[in-house]
């Protein structure tokens, strides 16, 4: 079976952290920060 990053707990957590940083920057930019 093909492996995805979500097959690993660490891959899941790290992708969540990366998504948090990306969304934080988008909202920060939208708020004029």
């Amino acid at each position: 079976m093909m492996k995805y990053w979500l097959d690993s707990l660490w891959g899941t957590v790290i992708s969540g952290l990366i998504l948090t940083v990306i969304l934080h920057n988008i909202v920060s930019y939208a708020l004029g920060g």
């Binding site: 979500l6 707990l9 969540g16 998504l19």
Partner: protein, 163 residues
């Protein structure tokens, strides 16, 4: 005291702890436990006695969390969901992430878990496919929970996070 937002926030937190707590139990504990139990032939107890109960509280806690969150937003619901007001941008992102997670619970995880646990008829092939879909949806929700909780915190403390 303004009762509606006060009680809504409290219920949102209570149900949210139950929802995300069970999500983390599934992902951080049960996936590995079920694999080990399948290897030594003891998985039946988990499937029969643990999962149906855990999934009951999990899926209904998700609904209560979302409804209490909607009540908490109150007349600012549309401001948050459609980004009509800058002050609601952070909670809007959190609300959308939580909504996607709720849809994953009821649209992907629960229907496939019913097949896996034998609550509805399914062939072995359907069960295997359902197992994979439910697993990836659950992992996706674990991933989304990280920014979701960040934006829930940021929604209540915008100056701290975006000041």
């Amino acid at each position: 005291m303004d009762w509606v937002p006060a009680i809504s926030r409290w219920i949102h937190l209570l149900a949210g702890v139950m929802w995300i707590g069970l999500l983390y139990y599934f992902n951080f504990v049960n996936v590995a436990a079920a694999k080990a139990a399948a290897a030594d032939g003891t998985a039946a107890g988990i499937s029969k006695h643990v999962m149906p109960r855990a999934l009951f509280w999990f899926r209904w806690a998700a609904v209560v969390t979302w409804l209490a969150g909607a009540a908490l937003l109150g007349r600012h619901f549309l401001d948050a969901f459609f980004f009509l007001n800058k002050a609601y941008y952070p909670i809007g992102i959190g609300a959308w992430l939580g909504t996607i997670m709720l849809i994953n619970v009821w649209g992907l995880i629960w229907p496939n878990q019913k097949k896996i646990l034998g609550m509805v008829p399914a062939s072995d092939e359907e069960k295997n496919k359902g197992r994979r879909v439910a697993f990836l949806a659950s992992r996706t929700n674990t991933m989304l929970s990280i920014p979701m909780l960040y934006f829930m915190a940021a929604g209540a403390h915008t100056a701290l996070y975006f000041g």
